[in-house]
């Protein structure tokens, strides 16, 4: 079975803590995500997302705080706009925007984190490894 590689950027204050909670609660979920912790979802430069795809990621997940909860007040709003613009651009590069996902997951939502990872992994598994390395 195809095991997709998913690069997960989690904001330290919410999603990363949610992942911590999932771990300490011994919740089981698919192991396809490789997590990178950032201080805020808005710290994720669109270059990081493109770089992940260019280096062979089959999917990219960004996890941030819910609206109103961002530690830096408006960071997650900026993230949302960037993600939407990137999604409009990715098809030109032959990348299905379904491979790129943004979720707001709080420090208490370990269950949501598990659900998102499982669901996203299955979705990408269905899409297959679709991004040949060019050049």
């Amino acid at each position: 079975m195809f095991e997709p590689k998913i690069v997960c950027f989690y904001c330290k204050w919410c999603t990363y803590s949610g992942a911590d909670l999932a771990g300490t609660s011994r919740m089981k979920y698919l192991p396809n995500g490789v997590v990178i912790k950032t201080m805020c979802s808005s710290r994720i430069d669109p270059q990081h997302v493109l770089d992940a795809f260019a280096k062979g990621a089959d999917g990219v997940l960004i996890g941030g705080c819910h609206y109103g909860d961002c530690h830096y007040v408006t960071g997650n709003h900026q993230t949302y706009r960037r993600v939407e613009m990137l999604k409009k651009m990715l098809p030109s590069f032959g990348i299905d925007p379904a491979r790129f996902r943004l979720e707001w997951i709080s420090a208490a939502e370990a269950g949501k984190l598990v659900h998102v990872i499982n669901e996203f992994t299955e979705q990408i598994r269905a899409l297959g490894s679709g991004i040949p390395i060019a050049r």
Partner: protein
């Protein structure tokens, strides 16, 4: 006459604008002629490939190579001139980062041949003939250079010493570079981007800048801008924040036109398009959204960002082959 150092300029996939930018040195072109011997430049002087082949390796002091690498011929000339030159400069945006010819990387070679030779409404090609590298005719075999699957930059093809950005490079910057060689100044470290600044076009732009709070985006034909104010703040998609300076911001300063990004990404940035998205994400202002639901925020964002019909084409107008993804995968 004592032997002057030899220089060359060659065009690969390019438009000829780079040669114009050299000719645009005006009277200083005489100083170039006094200091160097221009032995090869198909656009401006008569010299043949065999003349270059006859040179010793490294005999050319400098080659200004403009144009992207689209065909076997471009590639062959890049290798030849690399061998014959002490200093190889990727001159202009095409050689540096792919530029307009590089936009072709959003499509495959097959797509191009189909669109150009088969589907084009003004073409009649019932036998469905597309270019072949070899064609047999009664007199013998005709050959043309192969068309590559992708456009590459010069540095993706051969080792490059310096990069001189611009579409085309501004002549006063070209002169600064050539003059420093004539003066015998020490060369910068290999790989340096020369004839340009390190910061962004905004740094050289004289328009009045305040906090960027963009309420809606306009395409250039949809609005007459206020001449005094930052164009981006007025909602015109100006690539200034994601573009290297050095050009004196002539498009916004002199023509009230937005920067379209021809000097490529500023120092420290790898991908110009991604960086512009980062900047726009910050600069858009949707007003007070604290009372809105997630769906309402999404609708408001969509309302603003849908004004740009082709993000990729707009943000990578000059930099696609040299960008992180390089083109359609």
């Amino acid at each position: 006459m004592p032997d002057k150092p030899k220089i060359a300029m060659y065009w690969a996939a390019s438009c000829g604008g780079c040669e114009i930018s050299l000719a645009n040195l005006h009277a200083n072109i005489l100083a170039v002629d006094a200091a160097f011997q221009l032995v090869f430049c198909p656009c401006l002087v008569d010299g043949k490939k065999r003349d270059v082949e006859a040179l010793k390796d490294g005999e050319l002091l400098i080659t200004f190579f403009n144009g992207a690498i689209r065909t076997d011929e471009n590639q062959e000339m890049a290798h030849l001139l690399r061998k014959k030159s002490k200093i190889l400069i990727a001159y202009g945006s095409c050689a540096y980062e792919g530029c307009i010819p590089g936009l072709s990387n959003f499509h495959s070679k097959q797509d191009h041949f189909k669109a150009i030779y088969l589907d084009n409404p003004s073409i009649e090609n019932p036998q469905k003939i597309v270019p072949q590298t070899e064609t047999k005719v009664p007199e013998g075999t005709l050959t043309i250079p192969a068309f590559h699957d992708r456009v590459r930059t010069l540095a993706q093809t051969v080792d490059v010493d310096y990069f001189l950005p611009g579409c085309p490079p501004e002549s006063f910057k070209v002169w600064e570079v050539i003059d420093s060689v004539i003066q015998g100044k020490a060369l910068p470290p290999k790989g340096t981007i020369i004839g340009a600044g390190k910061c962004t076009v905004c740094d050289e732009c004289e328009k009045k800048k305040e906090d960027k709070k963009i309420k809606r985006l306009y395409r250039t034909h949809e609005i007459v801008p206020d001449r005094e104010k930052c164009l981006l703040e007025q909602g015109i998609l100006c690539m200034g924040p994601a573009t290297r300076d050095g050009c004196k911001a002539q498009c916004p300063n002199n023509a009230d036109m937005p920067c379209t990004g021809c000097y490529g990404p500023p120092s420290g940035v790898r991908d110009q398009g991604a960086k512009m998205i980062a900047a726009l994400g910050t600069a858009l202002d949707l007003g007070d959204v604290s009372t809105l639901s997630e769906e309402q925020v999404a609708a408001r964002v969509e309302e603003v960002i849908k004004a740009i019909p082709d993000y990729a084409g707009m943000l990578y107008k000059y930099s696609l082959p040299g960008s992180i993804l390089g083109g359609k995968r």
